[in-house]
Every structure is written in structure tokens, then in C-alpha cells.
């Protein structure tokens, strides 16, 4: 007996010692004033011109400013580093008045020359720092003919044609302004030694561990509440969830739908925000059953989008009504209703078109940016289409391979394919993927070969209009026609989500899907 006692007691003692030795110091709570963010991947670089991933943008938006930015809670632009601007009558000249007295984190001053440097670096192949690229999204600014320094606080952009999305592209991370002095000093290493004008300045990058930024007390828009932010890359969603539950991070982005129930209750707050995202099916309008508008509409009726959004995605998305996400509030056509789930109606339309029992080849991806849960969604869609009499064969591809199959066009290969886009302007997606001139052989993304001259005309006009109300009117008309023509099955608009613990205050997600932390506080 006594030996048993001893053993048990010593076990207990050893256990306690282990807990104290290992447990206590390493994972005390995260310190006050320091926000630890669980990111989905290691960033590529902190050079806004060189990166493309939302994951990297989440850091960048807190280190840099653009000439303009999105107004809180909207996708409409407001002044940032530029205090004011004028647009010439014909829409080809944008003249910005710059904010005075702003300095970069490295101490150099922000002026018109710095703005010119930024855009020349991306666009001019003979620029001495063009080799700090490549700059994958520089085509956002391909309309720029020339950037002119009028005086130190005035800069003029001359465009080669009217291009209405120009302002909102400037608000996109690719338009963030970097310090020319820092680029000159670090060259191609600038992405690891960033310097901007934003609310936080870069402090440290420990590869595969953390990027640390510290408050910029001299920020022109008021110093941030936090002392520092730590961005931790945690690629596996279950591990990220566990870190949040264990207190290792204060803010977690992209909570997997199945993990949402873990964060009910007092100690956590769940944030949701619908963004400029559309998940849809490209239908091959050139050949096969979907060449007939009635069959395309039938597909829209046959698929139970409510079930996909609520069951497969656990409420992390909303049913989409048309080609433009509602997050573009100013350009969104409120009168548009999603196609209701109506298998009867679908069968009638299919019968009318004489497409009963048609065989369909359906391209599904295994994953990919913005694709949500593509395999499960694809399976649900297949079941719905088979219920109205189609014979659907799924072909599944890994994301890069999938893009290589879909982007060159579906002709001769498939009848439908999954796709998702996240954009920053209502122009982008329809212009690149619905115009007759955007067929794959012309360098566009109209992989389903939809063509309607009226839509082409509306989109061309909207691009030339500089008045926002006029643009909105044109986009709304376009949405109505596209909804009726049904070149796609409009499935879902993703709601971005995030969880914060109860020590975090003043946090809100933005429709842009950027993570803005300058007003956030943590005790």
C-alpha cells in the first residue's frame, strides 16, 4: 500500500512540476496592447506592388496608405494621402492634391515625386527599380500614359483612355505608396524591409513565425490604439482554431464553417461581412445543351442555392442574385431576385428546349482562392442537376491545373465549370468575363463564350463614364440583362468572417476584405 501511495504522490508532484515548468511561462496570455493575428499563410513580401494575395494585403493595409482609400464599411473611395482630386471633362486626366507634412517611416518625405516613382517603378521597363519586381497586378494601372509632377503637392495622371475604375484601383493594395528612399536603399530586398506612411511601421519578420509591426505615433490620421500587431502564419485551419481556443492568438481570420460553433458564447465575438465576391458556374454557351438560354435558366432554377449556402457552407455565404455582388452597394441592382429553387420549372424549361437527359461534363476544383468548399458544393450541384434529369459527370482538378483547363475556354471539353472572383470594382468581373471581346482567344476570361452586344455596349459606356450615378445606372441595366440571359449559375456571395476574443475592441471587418487595425484596441 505504502509503495502505491508514494508512487501516486510522486506522480502527482511530477505532473505539477511539469505543468509549472512547461506551462506557466510559455503561454501566459498575449500581452495587452499587442494584437496577435492568426493569418492563413506566410506572406510573400511586404511590397504592395509585388504581391497578389489577400493574406499579404491584410498586413500591407496597416503599413501603407494609398492616394485614396475605401470609406469605412463601403467600397466607395475617400481621400487618404491625396486630400482632393479633379477629373478632366473627358475622363483622361486625374489631378491629385497631396497631403502636406507626411513622412515615410524611414524619415523621407512624401511628395509628388514619390508618387511618380511608385507608378513608374511598376509600369516603366526602363525605370532603374523596375527590376525589383515582377509586379503581377501592374495591369491595374495599364491605363496610365504618364505621371506628371506639377509641383511638390500636386500630381497629374494622364490616361490613354477614359477608365472609370481608376480611382478604386488606386484604393486597392497595388496602389499603396512605398518609400522611394527605402526602395533605393534595399533594392530587391525592399519586400523584407518595407517603409510606408501607414498607422503601423514594420519592426521584424521572423520567417515562418511572425511579422511584427509597431504603432506609428506620428500617423497623419491619428496614432493607433495598439502598441504592436503580430501576424502569425498558421496554414492549417484546425490548428488556427485550436490556437484561438487556447489563447495563442487574439484575432483569427477565415474561420472554417464547421468551427463556427466553437466560438459561440461570451468570450468570443464573431464578425461577418459580405464582400465583393461571387461564386458561380460558367456555362458553355457556345455548344451543347447550355447553348440554349432556356437550359441555362433551367440550371439556375434547378440548383438549391439556399441549401448550398446554409448546409454546405454553414451560413458563411449568401445566395447570389446576379453577376455583381451586393457589396458594391452603389452599383448593385436591388430589384434583382435570385432564381428561386424550382425543379418543376426547371424540368418544364428543359422539356421546352428538348434537352431532357442531356449529358454534362462539370469541371470541379479541389481548392483555390475564393472557391470556398468546391468539392462539396460541386457534389450538391451535381445531385440537384441530376434530380431534374441531367446526367452530370464531374471532373476534379487541382487548382493550378484547373485554371489551366478553364481559362483557355470550355469549348470541346466541358459544359460547366466552377469559378469564383473577388474584385475591387464592379467593372472588373463583367468586363473581363462577360464581354464578347473577352473570349479566351482575345485574352479575356469569358470561358463560356457569352455574347450580348447590349451588355458589351453598357460595359464600354460604364468604363468611360466618370460620374458615379451614371456608371451605377449602366451597371444596373447590365445586371438585369445578364440575369435574364443566365450565362452563369449565380450561386453565392461569400461572407468573410473573423473571430476576436473578449479583449479586443473596435474591430470591424470591411467589405473590401482588408484588415484595418488602426482603431482597434486590446486590454
Amino acid at each position: 500500500m505504502s509503495i502505491g501511495h508514494l508512487t501516486r504522490r510522486s506522480l502527482l508532484a511530477a505532473g505539477t512540476a511539469l505543468t509549472m515548468a512547461l506551462g506557466a511561462p510559455a503561454f501566459a496570455q498575449t500581452p495587452p496592447g499587442v494584437l496577435v493575428v492568426g493569418q492563413i499563410a506566410e506572406p510573400k513580401a511586404l511590397d504592395p506592388a509585388a504581391v497578389t494575395a489577400v493574406n499579404d494585403f491584410r498586413i500591407l493595409m496597416n503599413v501603407y496608405d494609398g492616394l485614396v482609400r475605401y470609406k469605412d464599411g463601403t467600397l466607395e473611395v475617400e481621400p487618404a494621402l491625396a486630400t482632393d482630386w479633379e477629373i478632366s471633362e473627358d475622363g483622361t486626366e486625374y489631378t491629385f492634391t497631396l497631403r502636406e507634412g507626411v513622412t515615410f517611416h524611414d524619415g523621407s518625405s512624401f511628395d509628388a515625386e514619390a508618387v511618380k516613382f511608385n507608378f513608374d517603378r511598376m509600369l516603366d521597363e526602363s525605370h532603374p527599380y523596375y527590376d525589383t519586381g515582377p509586379f503581377p497586378l501592374s495591369f491595374f494601372f495599364s491605363a496610365i500614359e504618364e505621371v506628371e509632377v506639377v509641383d511638390p503637392t500636386t500630381v497629374k495622371f494622364v490616361l490613354n483612355e477614359p477608365y472609370a475604375p481608376f480611382l478604386s484601383n488606386l484604393a486597392y493594395p497595388t496602389g499603396l505608396i512605398v518609400s522611394p528612399a527605402a526602395v533605393e536603399e534595399h533594392g530587391s530586398e525592399f519586400g523584407r524591409n518595407p517603409s510606408g506612411t501607414g498607422p503601423f511601421k514594420f519592426a521584424e519578420w521572423r520567417p515562418n513565425e511572425a511579422v511584427v509591426v509597431e504603432a506609428n505615433p506620428d500617423y497623419w490620421d491619428g496614432a493607433p490604439q495598439l502598441e504592436a500587431v503580430v501576424f502569425r502564419p498558421i496554414t492549417d485551419a484546425s490548428t488556427r482554431t485550436a490556437e484561438m481556443l487556447a489563447g495563442g492568438i487574439d484575432l483569427m481570420v477565415e474561420v472554417p464553417p464547421v468551427a463556427l460553433s466553437q466560438f459561440e458564447g461570451e468570450s468570443y465575438q464573431l464578425h461577418e461581412q459580405a464582400g465583393p465576391h461571387l461564386w458561380f458556374l460558367i456555362l458553355n454557351a457556345k455548344e451543347g445543351p447550355f447553348a440554349d438560354k432556356l437550359v441555362r435558366q433551367a440550371a439556375n432554377y434547378a440548383i438549391d442555392k439556399e441549401a448550398i449556402v446554409n448546409e454546405v457552407l454553414e451560413g458563411t455565404a449568401e445566395v447570389a442574385a446576379g453577376p455583381t455582388p451586393p457589396a458594391f452597394a452603389w452599383a448593385y441592382n436591388e430589384d434583382l431576385e435570385p432564381y428561386p429553387y424550382d425543379p418543376e420549372k426547371a424540368r418544364e424549361l428543359i422539356a421546352e428546349a428538348g434537352a431532357e437527359g442531356a449529358e454534362l461534363t462539370f469541371y470541379v476544383t479541389e481548392g483555390g482562392s475564393g472557391m470556398l468548399d468546391p468539392v462539396a458544393m460541386g457534389t450538391a450541384i451535381q445531385a440537384d442537376l441530376e434530380a431534374v434529369g441531367f446526367d452530370v459527370t464531374i471532373e476534379t482538378y487541382e487548382w493550378n491545373t484547373f485554371l489551366g483547363e478553364v481559362n483557355p475556354g470550355l469549348e470541346g471539353k466541358a459544359d460547366m465549370a466552377e469559378m469564383a472572383w473577388m474584385t475591387n470594382d464592379p467593372d472588373t468581373l463583367p468586363f473581363l468575363a462577360l464581354r464578347s471581346e473577352a473570349f479566351p482567344d482575345q485574352g479575356g476570361f469569358n470561358s463560356g463564350y457569352y455574347s450580348n452586344p447590349k451588355v458589351d455596349e453598357l460595359l464600354e459606356q460604364a468604363r468611360r463614364a466618370t460620374d458615379q450615378e451614371e456608371r451605377a445606372r449602366l451597371y444596373k441595366e447590365m445586371q438585369e440583362i445578364v440575369h435574364e440571359d443566365a450565362p452563369w449559375v449565380f450561386v453565392a456571395n461569400w461572407k468573410q468572417n473573423a473571430v476576436t476574443n473578449d479583449r479586443v475592441e473596435n474591430f470591424d471587418l470591411q467589405p473590401s476584405f482588408f484588415l484595418l487595425l488602426d482603431d482597434v484596441a486590446k486590454n
Binding site: 513580401a45 523584407r192 520567417p207 483557355p408
Partner: protein
């Protein structure tokens, strides 16, 4: 002896060259290119061509290969597209992290496996043998990533004894205690299956030895049973246990990739998976070359060591 070592080293050259050709061709032949991975939805043919040109991927394959090989021979493994840092820095850092994880797991599974197998054999069909056999079967049957997740839930989320993930604390000192607290769970999760295998094989190796005459002699002359098992029998059994340990070392190293994903361990397995998905060609090639070179040289070292013990091998 020197001649033998030199011959072995020279024979590694064609092997390594072959590896460079194979890994280069695989990366060139799989669908999808880095430009598509970088551009995502914006991968128009025009944009893809522009990015490929700037990355130097528009040259003919044989030229790309020669440039890559030439640079590598001068110690320049190139720059990762996806991480924008030198390939060699990333690979060495990540490989180091994997060696720490796999090394710890290997020490754990060797010690525990041999001890458990020995106890099991010494008490054949006794309660200790049954308990160990049962535990071992359970351990072999649980996939390591699932075990890892369960350990996270219990020891990190519920009890908060250990951190969930990572290799170092975000704040505070990077000392041995900090490393051990981060290393404990992944190393154990990684070691469990190998421990089971080693325990099973140690048990049968030992049982084999225990039936032999010299054991009976030892017992007959009155050697203490503990000494019979741990000194006489185990030493003899080690001859057949050691090769199993060698095989398990490779198993632990390759199994590390699952554990690295679950515990966000910054090792080379996870790096290679990410790099393949992002079509980060130079990083994949560099990573594979470094790992392969390590295996090749490890083999050479083993061969040389064996030849030192047994001169017949040298010829």
C-alpha cells in the same frame, strides 16, 4: 581507405546529376506554372507571358536547366517566387527544424520501443506483456495527424500545458525550455507509430534470443534475471534490432510532414507541400536536391563506417 572514400564520393556525382534532371523535368511537366499560381484569377495569357518572361521561364527548357545547374554549382540556388527570399536560406532553415523534430522523435521511439519490447518479452504472456501489446497495437493503429489533433485539444486547448503550434514562442526567450515545450507534443505524436513497430520487433528479437543456450547457462549459473534480460539478452538482440531502427529513422523523417502541418512546425516537409501547390519551382527543386544530397551522403558515411568495421567491403 582514402581511395575507397574518393570512389564512393565520385559515384555520388552521377546520382545527384540524375536527381537534378528528374526533379527539373517533373516540375517542368506538371500542369500549371508559377505565373498562374501568382496571378490566380487574373492569369490572362498576356499577364502569364509577362510574368514568365520576368522570371526567366520563357527560355527553352534545356537552357533553363543549364542556367539553374550552373548557378547551383556556384552555390546560388536562386530566389523563391512565392517567398521572395533565397532558396538555400529557406531550405536549410526548414531542414534544420525537421531534423530537430524527427531527431527527437527518433530518440524517443528508439528508447521507448526497445524498453517496452524488452519488458514485454521478459514477461511473455504476463499482464505487463498484454498491457504493452495492447497499447502498442493502439499506437500503431492511430494515424499520427489525428493523434496530434487530439493531443492539441487535450493538452493545449483544455489543460493549456503546451502551446498549440509553432517552434518558438512569439514573445520571451528562445531557450531550451521554450523549444522543449513546443517540441514535446509534435515529437511524441510523430514517435508513437514507430515506437509501436520497434516495440513489436524488439519483443520478438528478444524472445528469439531468450530461447538460446547461453541464456540458460547464465540463468543456471545464478545471474540475476534483470541482468540476464538487460545485459545478456538485449545486447545479443540489438544485432537484429539495429537495422529496424535504421528503417524507422527514415519513416520518422518522411512522416514528419503530417505532423509539421498539424503543429505548424516550420519544417521542410510542409515547405515542399506549400511550394508544390504554389508551383514555386526553384524552391521545390532546391529542397529536393538538398534532402537528396543529405541521403546520398548519409549513405556514403554509413558505407564508409561499415568498411571500417569490415575490410571485405572495401574491395
Amino acid at each position: 581507405m582514402g581511395g575507397y572514400i574518393l570512389r564512393r564520393l565520385l559515384s555520388a556525382v552521377p546520382v545527384l546529376l540524375g536527381i537534378t534532371v528528374i526533379v527539373f523535368l517533373i516540375m517542368a511537366l506538371i500542369p500549371g506554372d508559377p505565373a498562374t499560381a501568382i496571378l490566380g484569377s487574373y492569369a490572362t495569357p498576356e499577364n502569364v507571358a509577362r510574368i514568365n518572361r520576368e522570371l526567366g521561364l520563357d527560355a527553352p527548357l534545356w537552357r533553363q536547366y543549364l542556367i539553374w545547374l550552373g548557378n547551383m554549382l556556384q552555390g546560388d540556388f536562386g530566389q523563391s517566387f512565392a517567398l521572395n527570399r533565397p532558396v538555400l536560406d529557406e531550405v536549410l532553415e526548414r531542414f534544420g527544424a525537421t531534423l530537430i523534430l524527427a531527431g527527437t522523435a527518433f530518440v524517443l521511439c528508439s528508447l521507448l520501443g526497445v524498453i517496452a519490447g524488452t519488458i514485454s518479452a521478459a514477461n511473455q504472456y504476463g499482464w505487463a506483456d498484454k498491457a504493452i501489446t495492447f497499447t502498442v497495437l493502439l499506437g500503431i493503429s492511430i494515424p499520427s495527424f489525428f493523434l496530434g489533433m487530439m493531443m492539441i485539444l487535450l493538452f493545449a486547448v483544455r489543460l493549456r500545458w503546451f502551446p498549440v503550434s509553432g517552434m518558438w514562442p512569439i514573445y520571451g526567450a528562445r531557450d531550451a525550455a521554450a523549444l522543449i515545450s513546443h517540441l514535446a507534443m509534435p515529437a511524441i505524436a510523430l514517435a508513437v507509430v514507430a515506437t509501436g513497430v520497434i516495440a513489436r520487433l524488439s519483443r520478438s528479437a528478444l524472445l528469439e534470443v531468450l530461447r538460446q543456450d547461453f541464456i540458460r547457462t547464465a540463468r543456471a549459473k545464478g545471474v540475476h534475471e534483470r541482468s540476464v534480460i538487460w545485459r545478456h539478452a538485449l545486447r545479443a538482440a540489438m544485432v537484429s534490432i539495429l537495422p529496424v531502427l535504421g528503417i524507422q529513422a527514415g519513416f520518422v523523417l518522411s512522416g514528419a510532414v503530417y505532423i509539421e502541418i498539424v503543429f505548424q512546425w516550420p519544417g521542410i516537409g510542409r515547405m515542399l507541400v506549400d511550394a508544390i501547390l504554389r508551383r514555386d519551382i526553384l524552391l521545390v527543386q532546391g529542397g529536393v536536391i538538398v534532402v537528396a544530397a543529405c541521403y546520398v551522403f548519409f549513405n556514403i558515411i554509413v558505407d564508409v563506417a561499415q568498411s571500417l568495421l569490415d575490410p571485405r567491403i572495401r574491395t
